[in-house]
Symmetry: C2
């Protein structure tokens, strides 16, 4: 954490504490052709509870985040995707950090050719659930991670607005 001198909008000097992140948070929504999504379950020490969420990771700022997203998806779920769409780009905290996040929709899923290897500090469970069930769980507060909640809502919006294949939107919303 570093401290910065700055001029506030009022013209007065102000000091801000700023936590700079070296990674870009990346999230992947793996959306299967049958309208199911794959979620990962893990302990998150920062919140001291068990969390079901999208496959997520941190891409170094000098790497194409899509490469990081593909790697995370393969490592955490053993899946690969035929089609990738960037559907979210956000700032995660306005107060003291400059962490940004990007989210990708992964379509045309199949088992990854590569080995499904997990980082030694991660112990992940996997769940394949209907899209509606995941979205309802998020809105009921059972899924709390903000990127997970925002990505599920974004996919709902795409399904409703005709931005996804009709057959897929139909099984998602049905």
């Amino acid at each position: 954490m570093t401290h910065h001198e700055a001029i506030a909008p009022t013209g007065q000097p102000a000091q801000y504490g700023l936590i700079s992140f070296k990674n870009l948070a990346t999230a992947v929504l793996p959306l299967h052709d049958d309208g199911f999504v794959t979620l990962v379950g893990q302990n998150r020490f920062a919140h001291a509870d068990y969390s079901w969420e999208l496959p997520e990771g941190g891409a170094p700022l000098d790497e194409d985040p899509l490469d990081g997203a593909k790697r995370e998806l393969a490592e955490e779920t053993g899946l690969q995707a035929r089609e990738w769409r960037k559907i979210l780009h956000v700032q995660l905290s306005n107060s003291v950090t400059d962490e940004c996040g990007v989210g990708y929709l992964a379509l045309g899923l199949s088992r990854s050719d590569g080995r499904h290897h997990r980082d030694a500090t991660e112990a992940l469970a996997l769940a394949r659930v209907p899209f509606r069930q995941a979205l309802d769980a998020a809105l009921a507060g059972h899924l709390k991670d903000v990127l997970t909640v925002a990505m599920l809502l974004r996919a709902y919006h795409m399904a409703r607005e005709g931005d996804l294949p009709d057959a897929l939107a139909s099984v998602m919303l049905g």
Copy 2:
């Protein structure tokens, strides 16, 4: 920032840096009866750019966040609401902070009786824009704050799912 010793899921000791927040981030989506929303514009030093977003603030953890949300809405926009609905409760970062955020939908808006006074370090601009225009701007990356993006998507979901008065949903989506 404090450092914590913990046991990783693998059973090995691990050390985590954890930034604990004293405040709960609160966001308010002021949704007018005519389907317009009020956004505030301000500099955010953490991201070094100008940001249009929902009225937001931080409520002390021992305060009812709804009270904080009402205060923020009045102070930043001069508005008061007849109806409040909590529509989002999320964790803002899974990696190093335990910051949580809650979002409220504010309906039945009118000018606040109280004085519209602004924090001395804030210089806010106000904009009243159609809901669709705000949502499209968020999805095009022009609004980046994650709570703002998630709340607009949540309101879209509510309008589509029949969770808002028909007349309001109609002008929002029309």
